[in-house]
């Protein structure tokens, strides 16, 4: 064996000393229910967070199996970042109950819900399941308006700073940087999307009220007869009849939804079917939050031509 030179030992010690502060300060472990909050946490946390995203853009966030893998990841999370407003009610309670993790339970700082930080739309006046899969707190698909991303991000950055004081300054700096770039991007998207104002659209599921509100799209019909109920031939025929009186230009669906109902109505009523990424990872272009809205706006504009 070659004898180790004193210089190598010193270099190794130096490297160790440099590595120690990083090793002593563990990354903040974040369990994000949806890809958009995972992406947002990565923007704020940079390399100082370990983000696990529980669902993908190809999955219906209403209907997720409480899989063992999710329970195992929730076990070691420092922070749970989810939409709330009952979006995850069919699976998150099981994961919380089985995680054995006190930090992310209700009422703990490690439990972060996005919905309370934005103005909710479509809050039902009466709660009755005869109206379908309605949510008492309003429509939970808040991430389709980039201004909501900014509102949630500010609260999330503050929460991350509170949970991880050692890296608080870093979170604030990265948030300020992201926020500035984000606001500039919103201004750009709004300018690009100006032709979309007032455009009548059909939606497959009530997944886009926040996007419609942001860009001034006009929803004239919904393919699902009730929220969460798959479109049937009868409900599609009713939408077709309605469109004869009040025509629309586009029919929108999220990436995880089946193409058939949209494409049927598009062919029948002369609309353009547009599959929007809906969240980060929803198409090739939506690698991050900027890509998500770049793609959303460009796909909507492409639908007009």
């Amino acid at each position: 064996m070659k004898p180790t030179s004193p210089l190598t030992v010193r270099a190794a010690l130096l490297a160790l000393a440099a590595a120690l502060p990083a090793a002593a300060h563990a990354d903040l472990k974040i369990f994000a229910c949806e890809p958009e909050w995972g992406a947002l946490a990565k923007e704020i946390g940079g390399t100082h967070v370990n983000v696990y995203t529980a669902t993908t853009a190809m999955q219906d966030p209403h209907r997720i199996e409480a899989r063992p893998s999710l329970i195992a990841r929730a076990r070691s999370a420092d922070l749970l970042a989810c939409t709330g407003a009952e979006l995850e009610i069919g699976w998150l309670p099981v994961i919380l109950a089985q995680s054995g993790n006190a930090a992310i339970q209700a009422g703990q700082p490690g439990q972060f819900f996005a919905a309370p930080h934005v103005a909710m739309l479509e809050k039902p006046a009466a709660l009755d399941r005869s109206a379908g899969d309605v949510h008492a707190d309003g429509n939970p698909h808040i991430q389709t308006d980039p201004r909501n991303i900014a509102r949630v991000g500010e609260a999330l950055a503050a929460r991350m700073a509170a949970l991880d004081p050692a890296e608080a300054a870093g979170y604030r700096t990265r948030w300020a940087d992201f926020s500035a770039r984000w606001n500039a991007a919103i201004a750009r998207w709004e300018k690009e999307a100006a032709p979309l104002r007032g455009v009548p659209v059909v939606v497959q599921h009530k997944a886009f009220p926040y996007l419609q509100n942001w860009l001034g799209l006009k929803e004239v019909a919904v393919l699902e007869p009730k929220p969460g109920v798959e479109p049937s031939l009868a409900s599609l025929a009713a939408v077709k009849a309605k469109l004869a009186a009040t025509p629309a230009k586009l029919v929108l669906r999220a990436a995880y939804q089946p193409a058939r109902p949209s494409e049927w109505i598009a062919a029948q009523a002369g609309l353009k079917a547009v599959a929007l990424p809906f969240t980060v990872g929803g198409d090739a272009q939506s690698g991050d939050l900027f890509g998500l809205f770049d793609s959303t706006v460009s796909k909507l504009l492409a639908g007009l031509h």
Binding site: P68, R75, G100
Partner: protein, 454 residues
């Protein structure tokens, strides 16, 4: 910083006249710069004010729903309530007894002929305080009875993957055991759980569970219970008559495939566990068993959905295998003194069994709302000794016969709160019986949105 200043001072001292003219120029330049900067600062201040006003309006907008929320009512702290309604129709042969041959009866309830109301389940649950949550599942029987299927507390704040549950709860052993009948994939129970526990094993006691801090799901649990349910009995003693240990492991193969497997062990010490059966000549007998009952249970579940999106299509496979060994003392006697049986005058002897069985089932959602499923149940009577001979030579109930059942189901789920199911079962649970059974079943879930485990 200091050096240019010193240099300037030195230069000024060296060239006073020259410097004066230069200084005036400098002053003018600075004045001009000051005025332009002031204008720019004013413009910036105006923009800042505008932005602040905008933020305020955003904040006001964001705060609005909170402000407009309904005032807190006194019933806001009521627990989540949900109600399950079940019932249906069964087309069955007229049989007096629907026992499982080869196994001591577990007290499983037999399906009723014709129309029947199933068990209605009332579920209440809520956080108790920052440290505990509570859960009650009361079963309202068609016969006007009320049963407490589960009533427990569970810790929520221990952390480190630990949780403790206490009260009456469905044991964590196996896979199907923790499920209530409304969550089953078939209208009837499988033969394994029928023979082992009647419906499912319920503990009155304590459970401790620990989830390992690994990305692979790895969970261990231990339970101590009074053992009030088959195969145990509540002996009125201070100790725990029923001890269970279990471990589960699970994860994802990829985005579309996930799995869970488990191994469980249950030990019970029944005392005078009574049973009713028949002797070799089909004459009624009664008896009891005292001894030790040990059960091993292995389970495996695999779920598939394209890209993990189960809304359009999904498939679920579940299988469980068991081995049960019982040893001790068995007594039997005539059920009716006027109808003498092989146990006439009372018969007592050593009793030892080594029995096993399995079920395997698959349920496939081939399109939204519709699922089709098949299940195969098989029990092996195995070795059963009573008083030095094969138990089947004395008791017809323990005859050497391997029960089996085929079930085929189709269910329709217009929403996640409604399920309507058709089922056909070829039942060979009892020796010399081949019964075609038809079931129609409805399950309705009302109230709070329940979350189902994997």
């Amino acid at each position: 910083m200091l050096r240019p200043a010193l240099l300037a001072a030195a230069l000024a001292a060296a060239f006073p006249a020259h410097a004066d003219a230069d200084l005036d120029a400098l002053r003018a330049e600075i004045k001009e710069m000051k005025s332009t900067y002031e204008a720019r600062i004013q413009a910036l201040e105006a923009r800042l004010q505008q932005a602040e006003a905008k933020t305020d309006s955003v904040a006001a907008q964001a705060a609005q729903p909170v402000a407009s929320a309904e005032p807190t009512r006194s019933n806001s702290f009521n627990p989540d309530i949900s109600l399950i309604l079940q019932g249906g129709y069964a087309h069955l042969e007229d049989r007096a007894d629907r026992g499982i041959t080869g196994f001591l009866p577990s007290g499983a309830s037999a399906p009723e002929r014709g129309f029947s109301l199933g068990e209605s389940e009332l579920v209440l649950s809520a956080s108790v305080d920052p440290w505990f949550r509570g859960f009650l599942n009361a079963v309202l029987g068609a016969d006007d009875s009320i049963g407490i299927e589960e009533a427990w507390f569970q810790t929520t704040s221990l952390g480190h993957g630990l949780s403790i549950k206490g009260g009456r709860f469905k044991s964590g052993i196996g896979y199907q055991n923790e499920q209530h009948p409304h969550a089953w994939d078939f209208a009837t129970n499988n033969l394994v759980y029928d023979a082992l526990f009647g419906e499912g094993y319920v503990q009155d006691g304590l459970q401790i569970k620990w989830l390992a801090p690994t990305d692979l799901f790895l969970e261990f649990g231990a339970e101590l219970g009074a053992g009030g349910a088959f195969p145990s009995t509540n002996n009125g003693s201070n100790g725990a008559n029923s001890v269970a240990l279990f471990g589960h492991v699970g994860g994802d193969f990829d985005a579309s495939n996930s799995w869970r497997a488990g191994l469980s062990w249950l030990q019970a010490k029944p005392r005078n566990r009574s049973f009713e059966g028949v002797d070799i000549n089909n004459v009624g007998v009664t008896g009891d068993f005292s001894g030790t009952s040990r059960t091993w249970l292995a389970d495996f579940v695999w779920k598939w959905a394209p890209d993990g999106n189960s809304t359009q299509q999904n498939f679920k496979f579940a299988a469980e295998v068991f081995q049960r060994r019982e040893s001790g003392l068995l007594n039997c006697d005539d059920a009716d003194a006027t109808d003498p049986s092989a146990c006439s005058g009372g018969l007592a002897g050593d009793y030892a069994t080594d029995q096993s069985g399995f079920y395997a089932q698959g349920a496939f959602q081939f399109m939204p709302r519709w699922r089709v499923g098949y299940r195969y149940d098989q029990l092996f009577r195995g070795d059963a000794q009573f008083a030095g001979a094969d138990a089947g030579t004395t008791l017809g109930t323990l005859a050497d016969y391997d029960p089996k059942r085929h079930s085929l189901m189709l269910d329709y789920n217009p929403s996640e709160f409604t399920r309507i199911r058709l089922q056909y079962t070829l039942d060979k649970a009892q020796q010399n019986v081949d019964e075609n059974q038809f079931f129609v079943q409805y399950i309705y879930s009302l109230g709070s949105h329940g979350a189902h485990a994997f």
